[in-house]
């Protein structure tokens, strides 16, 4: 039976006519007026006006601290993210993560309402801890906050202490906490704060003899494929490791016909013992700054930061790991490198000289720009809503390191409406960004390669690694085949509709 849904229904004549009739009541501007303004928004004049704005964000690539905090918290064994604050926030965080990963995500809120705003959230915290502990039996409750809690100034430490004194949770239940106000930083800050909160709390007093493990911190990395890839590579290298906040099984759990509330995460014993590892390695910089600072100061072991996206970055990542762990790169990994480079060489004619606009988070942008320049691509507009001055400086240094970087300009604190102006006044060939960047694709016709977070409108992309040499092959695949698809679409009715490319 042929059934038409919204994709076809509303293109039908009867609906098109309905839409015309509806205009009588809409008091909408004329087509001429709309077209005139539409053309004006593409001009240099509009761009200047757009860049003048100081007080409003339009289509920003940014979300708030607690999202990053609960993402991080979920990555530990038996841990329930517990948000002291209003319940709507938690409903939003859970929806947001589920829409990206297509996975369930559990998190607790203390449902603070007007009375808590007046009297503080102590009662909510105590009852919330009791209910959450009794009902969902967590091994750890990782507490973060919403903006409401931060504005009224709830004292988490004191509240948790009182809950213990009242006996609603056991004396030895792990309840680390972090203050994560939404009006400071973004989800990468929240990730950092929560991780530091958890590690500092549960490793406290556990310093013993150093072992031969390496800790890895992935940062606010939403590619579950990256976690599995890192484990595979470390197993190949023979390095013993602990991934701190290992969210891989949380956001990519096997379907067994049984719903598990706690499907994975870093074992708590390993987390406690992470203070005794020989080194800690962060795979993102901007989302781990406070945690890495804390570890460097307190844990008395080596620390390193490198994001292995692209060939050179992956090379130096392996150099660092091998030097810390005293290992040689095995032939299998050298072979993987060879295959990745081979793929880049095979595809380079389609990427060389192509101009790119990018929007996303700082660590991923640094990795992608480096990779694109390795292939002869030209990064032009680089928009990072949540980037800071340090990121701007790092990105400029990277751009200055390659002749392909000369056109690149980095925009921190800007949003996708700024990028729209840039893409109209200085068009590019390809756009890289999250699902919301599809509106830029729609407006400017520039094809979109979906890399980043959130990815709502394509399935499974997060399952593929973007780190390591395997990650390079995935990036080449997505980018070159988007270019070829677009080439086919544009040449479909010409002689250039080639079968061999």
């Amino acid at each position: 039976m042929k059934i038409k849904d919204h994709n076809e229904l509303f293109q039908q004549k009867e609906y098109i006519e309905q839409f015309e009739r509806k205009k009588e009541f809409e008091n909408c501007p004329s087509d001429e007026e709309v077209n005139k303004i539409a053309e004006w928004t593409k001009t240099e004049e509009y761009k200047e006006l757009n860049f003048k704005r100081q007080h409003i964000k339009i289509n920003p690539a940014k979300a708030c601290q607690p999202l990053g905090a609960i993402f991080c918290a979920s990555g530990f064994e038996g841990t329930m993210p517990f948000i002291q604050g209003a319940q709507g926030c938690v409903a939003y965080f859970r929806s947001h993560l589920s829409r990206h990963f297509k996975e369930p995500f559990a998190a607790i809120s203390t449902s603070m309402t007007e009375d808590a705003a007046v009297f503080g959230g102590l009662h909510n915290m105590i009852e919330g801890l009791e209910n959450a502990y009794t009902l969902y039996k967590p091994k750890m409750l990782a507490v973060s906050t919403t903006c409401m809690t931060e504005v009224i100034g709830d004292d988490l430490n004191a509240f948790i202490k009182q809950a213990r004194e009242k006996g609603v949770i056991p004396e030895d239940l792990l309840v680390p906490f972090a203050h994560t106000p939404s009006f400071v930083g973004s989800y990468i800050t929240g990730y950092d704060n929560m991780l530091k909160g958890i590690l500092s709390k549960i490793t406290s007093g556990k310093k013993a003899e150093q072992n031969d493990k390496i800790n890895f911190i992935m940062g606010f990395n939403t590619y579950t494929g990256d976690y599995f890839e890192l484990k595979r590579l470390m197993n190949m290298l023979g390095v013993k490791y602990t991934i701190l906040a290992d969210v891989s099984n949380i956001f990519d759990s096997p379907n067994t016909g049984e719903y598990k509330l706690y499907p994975g995460g870093t074992p708590l014993d390993d987390t406690i013992d992470s203070i005794n590892s020989m080194a800690t390695f962060a795979l993102q910089k901007y989302s781990t700054q406070k945690t890495m600072e804390y570890i460097a100061k307190q844990w008395n072991h080596k620390t390193a930061v490198a994001t292995p996206i692209g060939i050179k970055n992956t090379d130096s990542f392996f150099d660092d790991i091998c030097s810390i762990a005293g290992r040689q790169i095995p032939k299998e990994i050298e072979d993987e490198r060879g295959r990745a480079v081979d793929a880049m060489i095979d595809s380079h004619p389609y990427v060389h000289g192509k101009r790119f606009a990018l929007v996303g988070d700082p660590d991923i942008l640094i990795g992608l720009v480096s990779f694109l320049m390795e292939m002869g691509g030209i990064p032009v507009h680089i928009v990072c809503t949540i980037g800071d001055k340090k990121f701007e400086e790092d990105m400029n240094n990277l751009l200055n390191s390659s002749p392909f970087g000369v056109e690149g300009k980095v925009y921190i604190g800007k949003d996708m409406w700024h990028l729209r102006s840039l893409m109209f006044t200085e068009p590019v060939d390809l756009l890289i960004g999250n699902s919301y960047a599809k509106f830029l694709w729609g407006d400017t016709g520039t094809p979109l390669v979906r890399i980043g977070f959130p990815l709502f409108d394509r399935h499974h992309l997060h399952r593929y690694p973007i780190i390591g040499y395997q990650g390079v092959i995935n990036l080449v695949n997505w980018i070159v085949n988007t270019i070829l698809d677009e080439m086919d679409r544009k040449t479909m009715n010409t002689t250039s509709f080639d079968v061999i490319r």
Binding site: H6, Q18, Q54, I56, N131
Partner: protein, 475 residues
């Protein structure tokens, strides 16, 4: 008391056993065995009260109700998420309130616009920034017909005066600037946000629109958010009946339509929960009668068409019969095709707004039975409208928790569950066929004749997908 009711009550008690004493006592008031007759005193659930902390409620907040549901879909207004960055980000085009227009030029529905509060705004207040933001927006978007200020939690806590900013800027710019006090900590759920939004429609836009001429057949379509094109499918039927839909609230709505509904002869309301307030206001102030209707599934559609027609003259009544006659063969063929595949299947629903009761008839048209239903943010009047539509002993849930939903599913063994995105993937893991009944799982429309075919197709693919059988390896 019947055995069906007793059995269900026993099951509910078992489920409640896991709670700490105080919470157990509270939750017991929100779960009941259905008694369609309304005789059984203990079968009425308590509703619209605070969720218990720590139980994992599915509910959202007042901002979600005001911005996400009511004001967000108004297409030619710029809706500012006023406060920190998150709320606007997480509610960005997630409800699929379809609209026609050129986004960023004369319409703004798929955009996320926010004042992105920083610490200095919390300390010194956000009013100055808001004032400047509104001017910046009007410069960049000269065709905007209105601006909405949708407050997030901190705005109310730090004592900002957004009403003053709205008043000043409305005067300066000559368009409505609507301050909406929908801070997330207000009320107990989305529901208060709907009410607050309704009140601002009343105070800032209603009665201020332009309409050239009136006819005796003017109606307003209220409480249809055009999810996946729902309102368009409903409008098509109303127009075929000979009615003139002068305003669509708020799916694909324009500010002008928000301003002329008071000129309707009858207000037709689909989602009672979110917009009954404004219908009552228009009844009291303008004497406009309002009628609740249900455009899910042919049985309810036929009843509703006749009910709506009863407010008009014979011409409309005749048209009502004509369109029933016209579409009945199409509806019958949909049922004939899908009913054999769905007959006898049990459905559990946990949704919001109108769906926990309004979709029951559509499932029944396909031979399915709703064995449990519940509302995230329903009130007493919603439940009163639900009891008669459910079988005796069915489970009624108010503000259910993740734990309860999982337990009821284990015990009732429904063949499919209809709920939201937060519930969807835990059901996938359980191997229970699942359909999102907020967003139609990115399908739709589900309203009207055109929508029922899509609904039937979607329920079939949910229940009868071969993927469910792959979970356990066949020996």
């Amino acid at each position: 008391m019947s055995t069906a009711i007793k059995d269900t009550q026993k099951m509910i008690e078992e489920v409640l056993d896991a709670y700490p004493e105080k919470t157990k006592k509270d939750r017991a008031k929100h779960l009941a065995a259905n008694d369609p007759s309304g005789q059984c005193g203990s079968c009425q659930v308590k509703s619209n009260v605070k969720s218990r902390p720590g139980v994992m409620t599915v509910r959202g907040c007042a901002y979600a109700g005001a911005k996400g549901v009511v004001w967000g879909p108004v297409k030619d207004q710029i809706t500012i998420s006023h406060g920190p960055i998150g709320c606007g980000q997480y509610s960005w085009w997630s409800r699929r309130n379809y609209y026609n227009g050129k986004t960023g030029i004369d319409t703004f529905g798929t955009m996320h616009i926010t004042t992105d509060f920083q610490e200095k705004d919390i300390v010194y207040g956000g009013d100055k920034g808001l004032y400047a933001a509104i001017h910046e927006l009007k410069e960049l978007f000269p065709l905007a017909k209105g601006i909405g200020i949708l407050s997030e939690c901190p705005v109310g806590l730090i004592g900002d005066d957004i009403e003053a900013v709205a008043k000043k800027t409305a005067k300066e710019l000559g368009i409505p600037v609507v301050p909406v006090r929908c801070e997330g900590f207000r009320g107990v759920s989305q529901s208060l946000g709907h009410h607050i939004a309704n009140d601002t429609i009343r105070d800032y836009v209603l009665g201020k629109g332009k309409m050239e001429q009136e006819t005796p057949y003017d109606v307003a379509l209220i409480g249809d958010y055009n999810i996946g094109g729902d309102a368009w499918a409903s409008r098509k039927m109303l127009e075929e009946m000979g009615l003139r839909v002068i305003a669509q609230w708020t799916g694909d709505a324009s500010i002008n339509e928000m301003g002329i509904a008071n000129k309707a002869k009858v207000n037709l309301i689909h989602c009672y929960r979110s917009m009954n307030y404004i219908c009552r206001h228009m009844e009291e102030t303008y004497g406009i009668p309002w009628v609740e209707f249900n455009f899910f599934g042919p049985t309810k559609i036929y009843q509703s068409i006749r009910k709506i027609a009863s407010y008009f003259d014979d011409k409309i009544k005749e048209n009502a019969e004509k369109i029933i006659e016209k579409y009945k063969p199409m509806m019958d063929s949909v049922i004939e095709h899908f009913k054999p595949r769905l007959e006898g299947k049990k459905v559990m629903l946990y949704v919001g707004g109108l769906r926990p009761r309004h979709t029951i008839g559509a499932y029944e048209d396909l031979g399915m039975e709703v064995v449990a239903s519940g509302y995230e943010f329903g009130h007493n009047d919603d439940y009163k409208r639900t009891y008669p539509d459910m079988k005796e002993g069915a489970v009624i849930m108010d503000d259910a928790t993740l734990y309860e939903l999982e337990e009821f599913t284990r015990r009732l063994r429904p063949d499919m569950v209809g709920s939201g995105i937060k519930e969807k993937y835990s059901y996938h893991k359980m191997g229970v066929p699942f359909r999102q009944m907020h967003s139609w799982d990115y399908s739709g429309p589900y309203h009207g004749f055109d929508g029922f075919a899509v609904f039937a197709r979607d329920m079939d693919m949910t229940v009868n997908s071969p993927t469910w059988d792959l979970i356990r390896r066949k020996k």
